[in-house]
Symmetry: C2
Subunit: 207 residues, 2 copies
């Protein structure tokens, strides 16, 4: 629906909000009217915070995670295990893995996965820099934590081949039944994988 508002200023603001993912024109209008009801200084703070973020944010030159500094807080934390690397697709996945509190090593953010359909090849990702990090030595294990999709698998295999010449253990996160998931509703491929990759019951309490 090409709804027009009586105000061009309002129209522009609604258009900007409606560009965001999952925000339609109705929601956009609601958000803009909410901002209009706030103090002018509140709305300025909102706008300026976003401008400041996009101007000043950096990417860590080691792991490529977003950061306020040249080297991110994780890479510069001496208490973390620098011999273990977790390879993830994007910034979001670093947060997701951090929230599990099960990983204490460092990250490597690829910036996506290999996807010929979207025109994304290995050269578009931070794979070369991953190989360089491993080649520099000191890394004992690389954990592949990409999505369990065809693109993720392709990327896993590509990285596996690239790292094969080095003396490094390459592992992949477990695929199986979700915790809390009922067997009846688990798809057959996942269930099959969970049987193949079964673990010792006594080991399953760890972590």
């Amino acid at each position: 629906m090409d709804q027009q508002y009586s105000s061009v200023l309002l129209e522009n603001a609604v258009n900007e909000f409606a560009k965001l993912p999952g925000i339609g024109r109705k929601t956009a209008l609601r958000l803009v009217l909410h901002l209009l009801r706030q103090e002018e200084s509140e709305a300025e703070k909102f706008g300026n915070t976003i401008i400041k973020l996009c101007r000043e944010i950096k990417h860590c030159h080691v792991c490529h995670n977003i950061s306020d500094t040249d080297t991110c807080a994780i890479c510069s934390d001496p208490s973390r295990d620098a011999s273990t690397l977790c390879v993830v697709e994007n910034v979001k996945e670093v947060m997701v893995v951090e929230n599990t509190r099960q990983f204490h090593g460092l990250y490597h953010v690829l910036g996506g996965v290999i996807s010929p359909m979207d025109g994304i090849g290995p050269a578009d990702l931070e794979i070369e820099s991953l190989v360089e990090r491993v080649a520099a030595g000191g890394i004992k294990e690389v954990i592949l934590a990409l999505s369990a999709t065809m693109e993720g698998d392709t990327t896993n295999f590509y990285i596996f081949r690239k790292l094969a010449p080095f003396d490094v253990k390459i592992t992949i996160i477990a695929r199986g039944v979700s915790v809390g998931g009922e067997l009846e509703y688990t798809d057959e491929i996942t269930l099959g994988r969970s049987i193949l990759n079964r673990t010792l019951f006594s080991e399953s309490f760890k972590g």
Copy 2:
């Protein structure tokens, strides 16, 4: 959950988005990461549009609708019927009524309804200015189009008494069964009102 991100810039932006109605921290993070994936100029445009809106938006000095100019586009449109006023709660309701394309008069935006529970009295609303508009003459009908709530009814009655001394027809929008609504699921009070306020069948095709 008091989730902390590795970047203060990111944290601030997420906090700002999470202040918006219906946007939680997870959605806020998704929106911020989306903006980060755009060109820097896109994010600046987003921020600046909002700042510009809140700095430059005006309220029409006649009807109190939001406007880019001192008198809004509706009030300054000579093709509209200046003898009919539609009284609404807020800016949003002007848009809703406009979208019906059934009203061709002018508006009067109260800025809310009388609500003692929220500390909103008649003096906090644009009721005095409504009385002045009617007192100035030239207005034949005032349509009350407030919400069908207790607060809306209180406000309707207050305005009705304030306008009683003037030679003006005061009407209220019809309450009844929704178009497309099934009788079985209509509440009894609404159904009762729809029977009391029944209209001539031959009149029901109008508009």
